[in-house]
């Protein structure tokens, strides 16, 4: 079977220990996780976890099922193959001597980056967007020298509206089966 990447989104109880549980599950079963992002949802009782996982279809299916099996996980949705928006946010500190500064600022502008800090020798840029865009930018500025780089990991959301707004747990995404 061929390897592929999948974006999986899970709504979980917003409670201590839940993230540890899920990351422990990935570690103990040896799943390959590219990124994992967590944050509160519109309902403070719930958090949303976005996982980018890699593996063949059998493994990806296991990841979804094992996630759904966790009692504190309310709903698991596989976004790949559906119409969704994904974003990754990066802060990048690029080496920027006076002579090169103009070029870098231009690149940042093309990528709709924001300049968030400027020093004598460096520029810090904030960029968000889909993964390819972020990675393309990194490659373009690499020749100037990268001091530091940090990324949030991917967050993602389906387009359109399904279900009632406030009751996230009951909206009509992939039904969760439990045992």
């Amino acid at each position: 079977m061929t390897e592929s990447k999948q974006v999986i989104s899970a709504v979980v109880e917003n409670r201590p220990g839940v993230l540890a549980h899920i990351s422990g599950l990935f570690a103990s079963r040896g799943y390959n996780i590219d990124s994992l992002a967590v944050g509160e949802t519109e309902n403070p009782l719930y958090s949303r976890i976005t996982v980018v996982a890699r593996g063949d279809e059998a493994i990806l299916e296991q990841i979804r099922k094992q996630l759904a099996k966790v009692i504190d996980v309310i709903r698991v949705t596989e976004l790949s193959g559906q119409n969704f928006v994904e974003r990754d946010l990066m802060l990048i500190k690029v080496n920027a001597p006076a002579a090169k500064r103009g070029e870098i600022l231009e690149l940042a502008e093309v990528f709709e980056g924001k300049i968030v800090d400027i020093g004598v020798k460096h520029i810090m840029i904030e960029i968000s967007g889909p993964e390819q865009k972020i990675e393309a930018f990194v490659e373009l500025v690499r020749p100037y020298g990268i001091h530091e780089l940090v990324r949030t990991g991917r967050v993602a959301m389906l387009r359109g509206v399904s279900g009632r707004p406030a009751r996230a747990a009951e909206s009509g995404e992939e039904k969760k089966s439990k045992n």
């Binding site: 220990g17 422990g24 309310i74």
Partner: protein, 555 residues
């Protein structure tokens, strides 16, 4: 207003818990104190928390109700870990209550603090750390609900000592709604129809039934399905007792130490009907070579079990009993004369056999099968003793075989037998043990004696850690590294020291008499059968081979 400990007692009463296993310590004294005023809840004191955990497990397996165990914080809680993992692997409903240090001290490396919810997360179905007494009732009701429903399993509730003492007037909920927990129990009817059609069409079908049949109470339906559709049945270790071993359709157990005919039938089948079983590697051997010509139906309550180890053609997610109720209606009788004749041929040609001469452990099990009543509960330890019991004892009734299948926990059998005996006071309970395993929780003889339990321990004493010695003999040139048990105690004297009865048996002719005497004694009884020291369990599939590559035990 009442204390957290009183809420716990309320929750136990609501769940109709009349018996629990509890070992005290600083952080659970308030709970023990509350139990002191609850004479309707009998407190059994094990001699080790692991023993207490296995007792609750044996209790649950024997009678199907949730077992309850209580331990103190720190070492008391960590001593429960093996018992929780054992129960988790075999889907046994348990609720474990642990004490915890005061909420203020959590995370400070306080005396007898252990992060038990962190430690047990991978080996429980779920766990709770209760930080506020107002939440305690909800957590307890949820814990019992989660433990008992869906695919059952152990749930741990960690209660800091100040939470046990704090007062609350929040009423105990009779039920709870958990957004993330809605077990799938009804199978999809369309899938069940497809499964029935596949069974009706199959030329060479085999039903492969596991512990799920016993847990869901589907044994009668399994028999109806097998007889109505005329399909042979093989069971896993955990499935023993779910199908009558003496039925002509029975193939006995499959897998690493399964019968020749069960493994051959699977390998030549055109349809495997897996019911409440999970394609463990001890069953499938080399998965890529398992049942090469067969389509696979898999009925399981756990969606994550399906297509985990083996690609399934017709999955049905649901409770085995509810699915079988519908499936039985939809299948019809098919003659399959050639297939059944072929199986009959294998049975005649390759029955389970062993050599004669001396005192053979297999003979002891055969005699036990004759001596014990049909409803006797047979617990085992782990190793050769467990496999010989599985092979030579003909289980007739569900919940009569109590053994650690998934985790393979040595030291499980004796405490589990104590739990089973407390669950079923009128029945005979026997622990078939090895001389290695029995020493892992032998202290529980005191618990058996204190509670006047007529548990009979049959030690198949071969002077070795037999199963490991067997692997060393077969695959490591008989280099017996660390498997010779020199310095064993005199088990008869040991039994007597605990206040139990004991008897040593060295000759085949005395086996039956000794068993009859022990079973009739009404006392905790240790039988020390001094058996052939280097007997092996055959047939055997070497680990990782296809299951028809069996060695040994063929005539």
């Amino acid at each position: 207003m009442r204390s957290g400990a009183a809420v716990l007692v309320e929750a136990l009463r609501q769940e109709k818990v009349d018996l629990l296993f509890a070992y005290p310590g600083g952080s659970v004294i308030p709970i023990f104190d509350a139990l002191y005023d609850a004479p309707d809840i009998k407190l059994i004191l094990p001699r080790h928390e692991q023993g207490g955990g296995h007792m609750a497990d044996g209790y649950a397996r024997a009678c199907g109700r949730v077992g309850v165990v209580i331990a103190t914080s720190g070492p008391g809680a960590t001593n429960l870990v093996t018992a929780l993992a054992t129960a988790n692997f075999d889907s046994v409903p348990l609720v474990a209550i642990t004490g915890q240090v005061k909420t203020k001290l959590i995370g400070n490396d306080a005396f007898q603090e252990a992060d038990i919810t962190g430690i047990t997360r991978p080996v429980t179905k779920h766990n709770f750390l209760v930080r506020n007494v107002d939440e305690l009732g909800h957590c307890l009701t949820a814990a019992f609900h989660i433990a008992r429903t869906g695919r059952p399993g152990p749930v741990l509730v960690d209660i800091p000592v100040d939470v046990s003492m704090a007062k609350t007037d929040v009423p105990l909920p009779t039920e709870v709604h958990l957004a993330g927990y809605r077990p799938h129990v009804e199978g999809n009817l369309r899938q069940i129809r497809i499964a029935a059609e596949a069974i009706n069409q199959a030329q060479r079908p085999v039903i492969y039934a596991g512990g799920g049949i016993i847990i869901s109470g589907a044994s009668d339906l399994l028999r109806q399905l097998a007889e109505k559709s005329n399909c042979p049945v093989t069971t896993t270790l955990m499935g023993l007792g779910c199908f009558p071993g003496r039925s002509p359709l029975s193939l006995g157990m499959l897998g690493m130490h399964g019968t020749f005919y069960a493994n051959y039938a699977i390998m030549e089948s055109d349809l495997v009907v897996a019911l409440g079983a999970r394609f463990d590697d001890r069953i499938t051997g080399d998965v890529t070579k398992f049942a090469p010509g067969a389509r696979i139906i898999h009925v399981d309550i756990d969606p994550a079990s399906i297509s985990k180890n083996i690609k399934v053609d017709i999955p049905v997610v649901g409770d085995a009993r509810l699915v079988l109720e519908k499936l039985v209606e939809l299948v019809h009788f098919v003659e399959r004369r050639d297939w059944l004749a072929r199986i009959e041929g294998w049975k005649k040609k390759h029955p389970l056999t062993y050599s004669s001469g001396g005192l053979r452990p297999q003979y002891v099990i055969e005699q036990l099968d004759e001596a014990a009543p049909d409803d006797a509960i047979i617990c085992t330890e782990v190793g050769q003793n467990q496999m010989w019991t599985a092979q030579y004892y003909k289980f007739k009734i569900p919940r009569t075989f109590v053994s650690s299948g998934g985790l393979g926990t040595m030291g499980y059998g004796l405490p589990a037998a104590i739990g089973a005996q407390l669950a079923c006071p009128g029945r005979r309970v026997i622990d078939v043990a090895g001389d290695g395993s029995i020493q892992m929780n032998i202290q529980e003889l005191a618990t058996a004696v204190q509670n006047k339990l007529p548990v009979v321990v049959c030690i198949l004493n071969n002077g070795h850690l037999g199963m490991v010695r067997q692997w060393q003999q077969l695959f490591y040139k008989s280099r017996y590294s660390g498997t010779i048990l020199e310095g064993n105690p005199d088990f008869v004297k040991l039994a007597e020291a605990y206040g139990a009865l004991g008897r040593r048996v060295t000759e085949a002719k005395d086996v039956r008499g000794a068993l009859d005497e022990a079973l009739a004694s009404g006392r905790t009884y240790v039988l020390d059968f001094v058996v052939e020291p280097e007997e092996n369990v055959f047939p055997m599939v070497p680990a990782g081979e296809a299951i028809d590559r069996m060695i040994g035990g063929m005539t």
